[in-house]
C-alpha cells in the first residue's frame, strides 16, 4: 500500500513542480496524437462518406474491412510501419524511422478505420431521403455532403473522439516506430512503460494521471461542443 501512496504523493510533487521533462513529454503527446487524429479525420470522414453514400461493387467488402480495422492491433500496425520506414525498407529514404513523424503515421493508421467506420455509421443513420431532400432544395453534391455531415455532427464528433482516444492511448506502435528516445520521441504512454519497468512508480503514476487528465480534457471539450443544442 505504501508503494501506491508514495507514488501518488511523488506524482503530485512532480505535477506541482511542473517538471520540464514531464511538460515536454506531455506536449509531444498532444502534438503527435492531435496530428494523427487530424490526418485520420481528414481521410476517414472522406472515405466513410463515400462508403455510406455511394453504391459500387465491393462496398460491403470495404465496410467489412473497415470494421475489422477498428480492432486493428497497434503492435501489428507498428510492425508494418516500422518495416516500411526502416532504413533499408521501401520508404527508408525518407529517414522517418524513430521520429515523431513516424509516430504520427502509425497512430493515424490505427485511428483511421475507427474514424471511417464511425463516419459511415453516422451518415448511414440519417434518414435515407434526407440527401434527396437537400439536393431538391438546390444543394450541389458538395453542399449536400456538407449538410449531411453537419446533420451527423454529433456522431461524427464521437468518431473523432474515439479516433483520438485510440491514438493517444496506444503504446506498442509508438514504441516500435518512435523508439522512446528521450527528448525526441518519448510520449506519455511510452514513458509510463519505461518508468514502470525501472520501478519509478511516482513518475509513472504522475504521467498516467496526466494522460487521463488530457484524455478527459479533450473529450470534455468535444462533448461540450457536441451537446450544444437548440432550445
Amino acid at each position: 500500500m505504501d508503494l501506491l501512496w508514495d507514488g501518488i504523493r511523488g506524482a503530485f510533487r512532480l505535477l506541482v513542480d511542473l517538471d520540464p521533462e514531464v511538460l515536454r513529454v506531455t506536449a509531444l503527446t498532444l502534438l503527435v496524437s492531435g496530428l494523427a487524429t487530424l490526418v485520420a479525420t481528414a481521410l476517414g470522414v472522406a472515405v466513410g462518406s463515400v462508403l455510406a453514400l455511394a453504391s459500387f461493387p465491393g462496398r460491403r467488402l470495404a465496410l467489412a474491412l473497415v470494421n475489422t480495422g477498428m480492432g486493428l492491433p497497434p503492435v501489428a500496425v507498428g510492425l508494418l510501419v516500422a518495416v516500411l520506414l526502416w532504413r533499408s525498407g521501401p520508404l527508408g529514404a525518407l529517414g522517418l524511422i524513430y521520429t515523431p513523424a513516424a509516430m504520427v503515421i502509425a497512430q493515424a493508421v490505427i485511428a483511421l478505420p475507427i474514424v471511417t467506420g464511425f463516419t459511415a455509421a453516422a451518415i448511414g443513420s440519417l434518414h435515407p431521403h434526407l440527401r434527396l431532400q437537400v439536393l431538391a432544395l438546390g444543394a450541389s453534391r458538395w453542399q449536400a455532403l456538407l449538410l449531411l455531415l453537419r446533420e451527423a455532427r454529433l456522431p461524427l464528433l464521437a468518431a473523432i473522439m474515439a479516433g483520438f482516444g485510440a491514438a493517444i492511448s496506444e503504446v506498442g506502435a509508438s514504441l516500435m516506430v518512435g523508439g522512446n528516445i528521450e527528448g525526441e520521441t518519448r510520449v506519455l504512454t511510452t514513458a509510463i512503460v519505461l518508468e514502470t519497468s525501472r520501478g519509478n512508480f511516482d513518475l509513472a503514476i504522475a504521467l498516467s494521471l496526466l494522460l487521463l487528465a488530457l484524455v478527459f480534457a479533450v473529450n470534455l471539450l468535444l462533448t461540450t461542443v457536441q451537446q450544444r443544442r437548440l432550445p
Binding site: 434527396l132 438546390g138 437548440l230
Partner: protein
C-alpha cells in the same frame, strides 16, 4: 408572380409542357420498375399521379425532380431535354416528401436553407420565411428546433420551405400520408387553396383517390410501373381504361356538378340536365364539386312503375346502353345514358326481371346520402 403565370391552361396549349418524360425506362437489378413512353406536365396544372403502393410513383416523381436519372429516355424541361448537370433545373423546382425531413437547425433556418442555396439575399430569405410560416400557421415556431414539432407542424414547415422557393414546379410525394386522417383532410384543404392562390404547376403523387380528385386537374393512373390512363378525373373514374385500373379505382360514378343551394344539411346539385340532392357534409356553399356515386348504391326500376319512388331522393330516367358481367359473381354492370353516363350494378336476376337490354329506358334512383361530394 401570380399574374405572370395566370396564362394557365388555355394559354399554355401552344407552349411546350413545363416538364415531360419521353420514352423513360427505369431498371433496377435487371427488373423494369417504370416504363413511361410519354407524360406531360402542363404549366399551371396540378397533375395527380394515382396508383397503389409499389407502382413506381415515387420513382416517377424523383425522375421529374431530376434526383434520379432514367436507365433510358429523357426528361424534358419546357420541351428541351435535360442534359448535363441537373442542378440549375433542380433550383427551379421544389419537392415535398412524405416525411418532413427537416434539418437540425431552427425552423426558420430550415425554411431559409433552400433560398440560401439558391442565392437569395438574406433580407429576402427572412421576408419569405416569415410570410410562408405565417401563411401555414407555424410562425410562432420559427425559432424552435424541429425535434419538438408534431407531425402536422413539421409537415407544414416542410410545405412552407417548398413554397417559399416560389418553385416553377412543385412536386409532392404522398405529402400527407404519415399524418392522421383529420390532419390529412385539413392539410389537403390548405394545399388546395395554396395551389389555387399561387397557380403553381404541381405534380401530386398519391394512393388516395379522394386526394387526387380534390387536387388534380388531371389524373394519371400508374400501376405496376406503367401509366394506364391519363385524363380528366371524371373520365378516368367513369371509364377506366382496363380492368386493373377499374379494380384499383373501384368503379365509381364521378360526375361534374354545380352546387346551386345548400339547406338543411342537403345540397342541391346541377349535374348535366338534372337536379340532384346530396348530403352537404363536405361543402358549405355554392361552387364546383365532384359528385361520386358508387354503382352498387343505384337502384333500377321500370319506367312509370311507381316502384322507383321509395325513399330515394334522386330519380333519373336513363336509357340502357350496355350490359356486361362483373367478375365471377352474379352482378351485372349496366351502363346508362341519363344525359351523362351513369354506371349501376344490379344482380343478374333483377336484370332479367326488369327486362334490361340495350335501348330499354329505366329509372335510376339513389339516396342523397349515397352521393359523396368532393369540392373542386
Amino acid at each position: 408572380m401570380r399574374g405572370a403565370r395566370a396564362t394557365g391552361h388555355d394559354g399554355s396549349q401552344r407552349q411546350p409542357p413545363k416538364l415531360a418524360l419521353r420514352d423513360v425506362v427505369v431498371r433496377r437489378q435487371g427488373r423494369t420498375v417504370l416504363e413511361v413512353p410519354s407524360l406531360e406536365v402542363v404549366a399551371g396544372e396540378v397533375l395527380a399521379v394515382l396508383g397503389p403502393n409499389g407502382a413506381g410513383k415515387s420513382t416517377l416523381l424523383r425522375l421529374l425532380a431530376l434526383l434520379e436519372r432514367p436507365s433510358s429516355g429523357q426528361v424534358l424541361w419546357e420541351g428541351r431535354p435535360v442534359t448535363g448537370d441537373p442542378l440549375p433545373y433542380r433550383r427551379r423546382m421544389a419537392v415535398v416528401f412524405q416525411e418532413p425531413l427537416l434539418l437540425d437547425m431552427t425552423v426558420e433556418a430550415n425554411v431559409r436553407l433552400g433560398m440560401a442555396l439558391r442565392g437569395l439575399p438574406r433580407r429576402e430569405q427572412r421576408r419569405r420565411a416569415q410570410r410562408w410560416l405565417e401563411r401555414l400557421g407555424v410562425a410562432h415556431l420559427a425559432q424552435r428546433s424541429p425535434r419538438h414539432l408534431s407531425g402536422g407542424e413539421a409537415q407544414r414547415v416542410s410545405l412552407a420551405r417548398a413554397l417559399a422557393l416560389s418553385p416553377e414546379v412543385l412536386l409532392l410525394d404522398e405529402p400527407f400520408a404519415s399524418l392522421d386522417a383529420p390532419m390529412q383532410q385539413e392539410m389537403v384543404d390548405e394545399l388546395e387553396s395554396l395551389l389555387r392562390e399561387t397557380a403553381t404547376t404541381a405534380v401530386l403523387v398519391t394512393h388516395d383517390r379522394a386526394q387526387a380528385l380534390r387536387l388534380g386537374h388531371r389524373v394519371a393512373v400508374l400501376i405496376a410501373g406503367r401509366l394506364r390512363q391519363v385524363g380528366p378525373p371524371q373520365v378516368v373514374f367513369a371509364q377506366p381504361a382496363d380492368a386493373e385500373v377499374a379494380r384499383f379505382l373501384g368503379v365509381e360514378n364521378v360526375l361534374p356538378a354545380q352546387v346551386v343551394a345548400v339547406q338543411g344539411g342537403l345540397a342541391q346539385l346541377r349535374v348535366g340536365p338534372h337536379l340532384l340532392w346530396a348530403a352537404a357534409e363536405s361543402v358549405s356553399g355554392e361552387g364546383q364539386a365532384w359528385a361520386c356515386v358508387r354503382p352498387e348504391h343505384i337502384v333500377l326500376a321500370p319506367l312509370g312503375s311507381g316502384e322507383e319512388a321509395g325513399s330515394a331522393r334522386n330519380r333519373l330516367p336513363g336509357r340502357v346502353m350496355r350490359l356486361s358481367p362483373v367478375g365471377p359473381g352474379p352482378q351485372v354492370r349496366v351502363d346508362l345514358d341519363c344525359g351523362f353516363p351513369l354506371v349501376a350494378y344490379v344482380t343478374a336476376a333483377s336484370a332479367e326481371q326488369l327486362g334490361l337490354g340495350p335501348g330499354v329506358t329505366v329509372v335510376a334512383s339513389f339516396k342523397a346520402l349515397a352521393v359523396h361530394l368532393i369540392p373542386r
